[in-house]
Amino acid sequence: MQELEVRGKLRDWIAKHAKKPLTAEFGDETPVLELGILSSLDVVEFVLFIEDLRGGDVDADDIGPDAFTNINTLYSAFFARS
């Protein structure tokens, strides 16, 4: 899957599960947890979606909360290395 497609799918998932409507400024640098767009408990569901997208399990022991800062960090942590 191409990088742009992955980023698009991550964005769509966030939009679908957002606690508040995304503004026009929402982008790959927007902090999703800090702004309350997603909660820490959404992360559990998000991890399962990411596992499905990358076709392999995520080891939560290896992933820190920083990975969920924004779409850029998500892509780096889960897709850039695979």
Binding site: S40, V44, E45, L48, F49, D57, D59, P65
Partner: protein, 287 residues
Amino acid sequence: METATELATRLTGASRRKAWDVYSAFNWTASLEAGRWCMPPELISIYGTPAYEALGDEQKKRLSLFEIGNFFSLVLQGERPLVQGLVHRLYLNSSSREITEYLHHFVDEENKHMVMFGEFCNRYIGKVYPEKKIALAREYAKGEEEVAFFCKVMVVEELGDFYNVLIERDERVAPLVRELNRVHHIDEARHLAFGRLHLAELSARYLFEWPAETLAGFGAWLVEYLRASWGDYYNPTMYRDAGLADAYEVRQMAFAHPACAAHRQRASAKLVKYFVKTGLLAEEPLL
């Protein structure tokens, strides 16, 4: 009415009378009895859905092995932070000596549960399913972190106990699986008695001090935590290991299916009523 300190004294006595050795309590056979269920079919996470009906008898029984492995794993994973939190609360000035004494037993018993669940999972499914929850730092109101900790204790233990009781009684299930559930239930009955009373005392102490906004926010978090905890029961990796295709889609379908939602409501009823009664939830949520 009995206080948590008085109850702790009574439970300490019961824990000492019923003490057991996890390393000699079970007959760990090389393999589980062939042809037996490992989880009652009605408790399998996708029971009542077309995905379940499409499976043959052997596939359903194979799925039941991974379902019990997932169940034991999620209880084990819930007990890890529980033990950390309990150890942190030993010998606090704010806790009575009797409570600390009982917490030692609580920790000891939870440790034994992790040993037996870990042994089962490693031996029969080759792994313990990992935790997916990621803890994020946040700010708490006075007493909120303490209340949240014991809410988490109640969620992992009450939901687990609902399954323990039904599995323990079910003669279709492999004897070793029933025995693990029986042993767990006996210890958990004491932990739950303590947890219910202690959390009720904490709630009575702190909730009236919180601004309405804090209490509403806490209730919203608790509902979300309950839903996330239920999410652990629908593990795509478990479906994949059992040989089901499109594991993530199976999870999404099952979580949204009315039969599964009805099961979650039933299994959570006692816990949710308790949360409403203590004022932690304003109303019974849909799970």
